[in-house]
């Protein structure tokens, strides 16, 4: 996806955006999730950890879709990390963490390449001659909080 360095021309509301801001759905976008209700080896319900992204391509038709995806997988990885802090031997949780963390890292790289870096550590992914980090919207700005 081509973009201008200054990021001013990036259209953040793509045409096919149909993400609902349904109050109860929160960060979950329009993707369906394949719910499995099996109990895992740690004795907890895994349906909350269903794997909606397992075979999914990272959505990148517009910035807000990609940000939404980054928010989702980052939250999944973070919440499983907290669980692992008190259940460090749970193999299933470890697998989930690795999966979501890998998706998160891929998506962060893709964001840096397509729109600009969200973290200073991914500034290398941008091929920009100026300091693109500061040009990215801040998250409290309406355009930065888009999902």
């Amino acid at each position: 996806m081509n973009r201008n360095c200054m990021n001013q021309n990036t259209n953040q509301n793509c045409m096919n955006q149909n993400i609902s801001r349904n109050m109860n759905q929160g960060m979950m976008c329009q993707r369906g999730s394949s719910v499995s209700r099996a109990q895992n080896s740690c004795g907890i319900q895994t349906d909350k950890w269903s794997v909606p992204f397992a075979e999914t391509e990272i959505p990148n038709s517009c910035r807000s879709d990609l940000i939404c995806f980054i928010n989702e997988v980052s939250f999944a990885a973070y919440d499983i990390m907290l669980y692992l802090d008190t259940h460090p031997d749970c193999q299933e949780a470890l697998q989930h963490f690795r999966k979501y963390n890998e998706l998160r890292n891929k998506a962060l790289k893709l964001h840096a390449k397509s729109y600009g870096p969200l973290m200073t550590s991914s500034t290398d992914e941008t091929d920009c001659s100026s300091w693109e980090w500061m040009m990215q919207p801040w998250p409290w700005e309406l355009e930065g909080g888009a999902c």
């Binding site: 801001r21 980054i70 928010n71 907290l82 802090d85 990215q136 998250p139 409290w140 309406l142 909080g145």
Partner: protein, 206 residues
């Protein structure tokens, strides 16, 4: 060491400003049970954590509370955009406006400045983790109180997310407290302070 990510943990996009709600919600920024106190409490308490679990839970939840601090600030900021002097006077936002215009400053809904005396770091991990359980419930109650007043779904949505996180943190702190107690003598958890009298320093692979 911390790194900043230029995104919120949960998105905030509020189209209709409402300074009265901002006045209430800012309590979760710098009020008695707000996110500033939460992050400072956990990140301060972790140095006397007696096992790997408690140190990790305090560090990781303390870090998430910093992200929540930013979410609350974003809500207050977006609720106080483009205000007219008339709106400020009518909404009850005038007292805050007088000192801070629409800048973000840590205070309670009632105007008390943020104070470290709203939390403890006792150096006794059983005491600290028990306080942390109460802190999560106090923050949950505050979010419940706010959600009763808020009709705008764009404001209620991120607050519901924050409320749910208090419940998850409560669970993790309960597990951390249990892990500390399991390392102690079940006949008397209070025989000594594991953060002072007999500090545990285990390596990460034991």
């Amino acid at each position: 060491m911390w790194h900043y990510e230029k995104r919120l943990e949960y998105p905030v996009k509020i189209t209709t400003p409402n300074p009265q709600l901002a006045q209430y919600i800012m309590s979760q920024y710098g009020g008695p049970d707000g996110e500033m106190g939460a992050s400072m409490r956990y990140l301060s308490q972790r140095y006397t954590a007696p096992n790997r679990t408690a140190a990790a839970v305090l560090t990781d939840i303390g870090t998430e509370e910093l992200a929540h601090l930013e979410i609350v600030a974003a809500i207050v900021h977006q609720l106080t955009r483009n205000l007219t002097p008339e709106e400020i006077q009518k909404s009850g936002f005038g007292a805050y406006y007088t000192d801070h215009t629409t800048g973000i400053w840590p205070q309670s809904a009632g105007g008390y400045p943020f104070s470290a005396s709203e939390f403890q770091s006792t150096g006794d991990p059983i005491t600290d983790l028990t306080e942390d359980l109460a802190a999560e419930m106090k923050a949950r109650t505050t979010y419940d109180n706010l959600l009763r007043l808020i009709k705008d779904p764009e404001v209620a949505d991120p607050l519901r997310f924050l409320r749910e996180r208090e419940v998850v943190h409560f669970q993790r702190f309960g597990e951390a407290l249990r892990s500390v107690q399991e390392d102690l003598d079940a006949k008397n958890f209070f025989a000594f302070n594991p953060g002072f009298d007999a500090p545990v320093s285990c390596n990460s692979c034991d």
